[in-house]
């Protein structure tokens, strides 16, 4: 199987993508949304043509509510972000961005989160990611407990986690870039997308591992790398078809769905793509690499 034969090339591709993503996260930083920092977000839409961005920005920052960032949304609206303010302060903000009496903006939605609640949500989110990773290692180690030769079952779990890290670092890196380019925010939905990627991508990896387990039991080949190669070949069409279906559905959500779930769909598309890549080109070849490495060490 070419995947096993040229595995070093695929490792290199993954490595470069991860490095670029980490670089993007470090360089651009993440644009953390009010879900985690606390703050107020107001979306307004103007019945006539919306006023100039710069004019709205100036007007919003002239009333004493701290710094207000303004971002265009849709055809006729703006999203205003600022520190957590009260209901009446928010009303004064909307009044401030009413630049002309015959173009009074309508308040489409407001989201206000206290700083304490935000940091609590951030903590819970990080805990959730850690917990999912831990449970998945344990789960895989349990499911593959009868497979110990030539690679012990906990190694399947650990490799699945390496693949998972790969799968969440890359979408995060892309998102850091999008945050810098068009203000995409890391919010609760982004975290939800990451957790979903964790579930779906390990799902993919497990299907391949499952086949390896079955082929090991049936002794389809004498060498471990051949067993992995055969298993990959058998599950290849399924992996591609399934992720193609998921990606098509998510693309439809991205292009035609509501604005609130747009970035969510985008993160999932990227996650599904790299998730499928990692279960075929990363996780299974890594099993072979690890087996060869420990074989070499024991013969020395």
């Amino acid at each position: 199987m070419f995947v096993i034969k040229y595995r070093k090339i695929f490792y290199l591709i993954s490595g470069l993508a991860v490095a670029a993503s980490l670089g993007s996260i470090l360089y651009f930083g993440l644009n953390i949304g009010i879900d985690f920092t606390g703050g107020t977000l107001v979306e307004v839409s103007y019945p006539a043509t919306r006023p100039d961005l710069e004019a709205v920005r100036q007007a919003a920052n002239q009333i004493n509510l701290g710094s207000v960032t303004v971002q265009p949304t849709g055809e006729d609206g703006y999203i205003l972000r600022l520190k957590t303010v009260s209901e009446s302060e928010k009303d004064s903000l909307i009044k401030a961005v009413t630049l002309s009496a015959d173009n009074v903006p309508a308040e489409e939605r407001t989201n206000s989160i206290g700083p304490a609640l935000g940091s609590e949500l951030a903590q819970r989110g990080l805990m959730a990611i850690g917990l999912v990773a831990l449970l998945i290692i344990l789960y895989i180690a349990f499911v593959f407990r009868h497979v110990s030769r030539p690679v012990s079952s906990w190694k399947y779990g650990l490799i699945a986690i390496v693949a998972l890290l790969h799968d969440i670092i890359i979408p995060t890196g892309v998102f850091a870039y999008l945050g810098a380019v068009r203000g995409a925010e890391v919010d609760a939905l982004f975290l939800t997308a990451l957790l979903t990627i964790l579930g779906l991508s390990v799902n993919d990896t497990i299907v391949v591992f499952d086949r390896i387990r079955e082929n090991l039991q049936n002794k389809v080949a004498s060498h471990f790398d051949d067993v992995v190669g055969i298993s990959l070949k058998q599950t290849f069409t399924r992996s591609i078809n399934t992720s193609l279906v998921l990606i098509l559905i998510l693309l439809s959500l991205y292009f035609f769905g509501g604005t609130t779930t747009r970035d969510f769909a985008l993160v999932l598309v990227i996650g599904m793509f790299v998730g499928t890549y990692s279960s075929i080109f990363l996780a299974s070849p890594l099993l072979v690499t690890w087996q060869k490495w420990s074989e070499k060490r024991s013969t020395k």
């Binding site: 939800t192 979903t196 390990v202 299907v207 070949k233 078809n241 769905g257």
Partner: protein, 441 residues
């Protein structure tokens, strides 16, 4: 063999009718205006418009054992206040975040259709703070600090009402204490005969009548400079009761109805479009089994929609996204089965045998892989705010139901087709790949 085939086909037809019946229920319960079957989808505030408020309750002054009781009475008081406001189907629930001593207690208030919050916020959180105070020993009563707390407050009130006395032009407010309050008031008046008892509202002195005699019947009257409107508002607020626990707003979310309706329409459109693309892809690639998968997917969608109504699941934008995603997961089980089926067929097995064996083999993969997604969904549900909980719930439900439809519906239908003899047509129908494009891998 023929008997088995008959049974399978009968089951397949039964399943189809059951699904059609359920589908009719989903449709009918949406259009029926009254009666037992009036079960429209429950839409979350982000789709229907409204406000979602989170209050943090300050329970530091309450003994640990009594917090739950205080929270439930808080819930009742807030509910009474909101009912005055006239919101249809408000949702008020107490929630605990964290555990033990560091736990924080919250009250979640959802007000469908309410987008102008100012009035609602005032109504929910403002409490008339009625206090009865007496003169400190030796004080003259010239400054407010001369008065000391007696422990008798508005929480001992049973009822307040507006009175119009003939001698006085303005209205007065008559108070009826509950038994505990009556006892306190009797003690208070008994020990203060000839002294003033001051009545404070929100820290402002209303009146300080001199006590003539002990009042044992638990009735008091406040005369003051009220307008009729002021008196009515005060009486209403006093009757609604004081908050047993102080609260403050920590999060609020308001979504206009047009934005919500737009999000709903777009979500449904995206779902239908994705579905159409996936269905045609499945039929083009997997041919007859692909068609079976599409039928099975139809049953899956009907089952899910019926469950959304029956459980009921509140649908949010994220929840719809979760449902759309779960369609992909449901397809995956079918793809796994068909790939196995093809392998078994290649080994020269009959379609019937290949179907039975293919299912048995694919089941392990389906089970193991879906359980890992289920782990993610459960953790998400635990972590999530209400929006994310909606996503996690629809996804978890989707995973479980799709496993069920894959092993029952897809299996039954494939077996029911039951081709016995290989012909050119059947081998075309059961091979995969686009027409004339043989699968190379």
């Amino acid at each position: 063999m023929a008997g088995v085939m008959f049974k399978t086909r009968l089951t397949a037809i039964l399943l189809l009718f059951l699904a059609l019946g359920l589908g009719y229920f989903v449709y009918y319960s949406e259009t029926a205006s009254t009666g037992y079957f009036n079960l429209p989808f429950k839409l979350g505030l982000d789709l229907s418009g409204g406000s979602h408020l989170v209050y943090e309750a300050d329970t530091t002054a309450i003994a640990t054992g009594e917090v739950d009781e205080a929270m439930s009475s808080l819930r009742e008081v807030i509910e009474r206040r909101i009912n005055v406001f006239g919101v249809s189907e408000p949702l008020i629930q107490a929630e605990q975040a964290g555990f033990g001593a560091s736990a924080s207690h919250r009250l979640i208030v959802e007000l469908p259709g309410v987008t102008n919050l100012n009035e609602a916020l005032n109504l929910i959180a403002e409490t008339p703070n009625l206090e009865f105070k007496t003169l400190a020993p030796g004080a003259t009563g010239e400054v407010l600090t001369d008065f000391v707390d007696t422990g008798l407050t508005g929480r001992y009130l049973e009822r307040a009402s507006v009175q119009f006395t003939q001698t006085n032009l303005g209205p007065s407010i008559s108070l009826n204490f509950n038994p505990e309050g009556s006892r306190l008031f009797a003690e208070l008046t008994e020990s203060n005969i000839g002294q003033p008892v001051a009545i404070f509202l929100d820290g402002i002195l209303l009146s300080a009548p001199i006590v003539q005699e002990k009042i044992g019947n638990g009735q008091a009257e406040i005369t003051g400079q009220f307008s009729v409107e002021e008196a009515k508002t005060l009486v209403r607020n006093l009757n609604l009761g004081a908050l047993p626990v102080p609260i403050h707003l920590i999060s609020s979310q308001t979504i206009g109805a047009t934005l919500g309706a737009d999000a709903l329409a777009k979500g449904v459109y995206a779902g239908l479009l994705g579905l159409a693309v996936v269905a045609s892809l499945m039929i083009l690639w997997y041919r007859l089994p692909g068609l079976v998968a599409v039928v099975s997917l139809g049953v899956y969608i009907i089952l899910m929609l019926a469950l959304f109504k029956l459980i009921p699941v509140t649908l949010t934008a994220a929840g719809i996204a979760g449902f759309i995603l779960s369609i992909g997961i449901a397809i995956d089980a079918n793809v796994l089965i068909f790939e196995r089926l093809r392998e078994e067929l290649r080994e020269g097995k009959s379609l019937y045998e290949a179907t039975i064996d293919g299912f048995a083999r694919a089941w392990l993969s389906i089970r193991d892989s879906n359980l890992s997604s289920l782990i993610s969904a459960i953790i998400l549900f635990w972590f999530g705010t209400s929006m994310i909980k909606g996503f996690a719930l629809t996804m978890a439900l989707g995973i479980v139901i799709s496993m069920f439809t894959a092993i029952t519906v897809t299996r039954t239908f494939l077996l029911a087709i039951g081709v016995k003899h290989k012909t050119k047509l059947t081998s075309f129908l059961f091979s995969s790949g686009f027409y004339k494009l043989k699968a190379k891998i």
